[in-house]
């Protein structure tokens, strides 16, 4: 799998720097900021998981745990994918290739939309019941 191959690069600065030429440092910094933005997204999702667990005490336990775990899993995937994407962008810039395309933003939006709709339905059902 591509991700598994890239994991080696996560820990190896010399492997990333071995190929291609160093790009303009401003591009590297922009890539770093994008990485940090994704990391913040992951942290926000994890905070959302904590919040669902803590601040919806009236919710039945299976629902609460399910929603919280869905948010936490999204946070984990988001954080790991942030490193992966950062490494691949860095390498593509060094090699002078196109930046990697990704369908992750679309998938993440769909997951968040599903969680949000579920939350609305669950809260409304809680009021009605």
């Amino acid at each position: 799998m591509r991700v598994v191959r890239n994991v080696r690069l996560w820990f190896a600065p010399e492997a990333v720097r071995a190929e291609g030429s160093t790009p303009d440092y401003r591009f590297s910094l922009a890539n770093e900021r994008t990485f940090l933005a994704w990391l913040r997204t992951a942290l926000a999702l994890i905070g959302g998981g904590f919040a669902v667990d803590q601040f919806l005490p009236d919710l039945p336990r299976p629902w609460r745990a399910g929603l919280a775990l869905a948010l936490l899993a999204a946070g984990v995937v988001c954080a790991l994918r942030a490193v992966d994407h950062w490494v691949r962008c860095e390498r593509a810039m060094r090699r002078g290739e196109d930046l990697p395309a990704s369908r992750f933003p679309a998938v993440l939006s769909l997951v968040i939309a599903v969680v949000a709709v579920t939350m609305v339905v669950v809260v409304l059902a809680g009021w009605a019941g």
């Binding site: 690069l9 996560w10 820990f11 190896a12 600065p13 990333v16 160093t22 303009d24 440092y25 401003r26 591009f27 590297s28 910094l29 922009a30 890539n31 770093e32 900021r33 994008t34 990485f35 940090l36 933005a37 994704w38 990391l39 913040r40 997204t41 992951a42 942290l43 926000a44 999702l45 994890i46 905070g47 959302g48 998981g49 904590f50 919040a51 667990d53 803590q54 609460r64 745990a65 919280a68 775990l69 936490l72 899993a73 946070g75 984990v76 954080a79 790991l80 942030a82 490193v83 950062w86 490494v87 962008c89 860095e90 930046l99 933003p105």
Partner: protein
Amino acid sequence: MSGAHGPGAGGTAGRDESADGTAGRDDGADGTGGKGVGPPRDPGLQPERTRLAWRRTALSGTVAAVLGARTALHDGTTPAGLTVCALCCSCWLGLMLLARARTRRLGSSAVPPALAPRAATAAALCTVALAVCAAALVV
């Protein structure tokens, strides 16, 4: 939760700010040249913006860690709760140290070196560890 997302920089999707602010002037186009005093200052303030992005990330990490500590100690100070609380605090500390080291590095020279993959991985792993703590608390 997403209060730390500033509108100015670092939206959550894509390379939204790849080269803006840098297109206006080529290096050396200013009259001073700056040969003797190092490279001219970047008008796009990229190192400063990156530093602020680290600050925002550290702030987001603080919020998540505080929520985690709150959850861990919610049912009294049990040994398990204290352990998870300590883990959350160490994740937070890890993020803080990484952010501090990187912000210092960014401020130390006009042309800062690229982020080391190990630092990026460490930051992501701190985040993942926080999520694992949260999952342990929820289940």
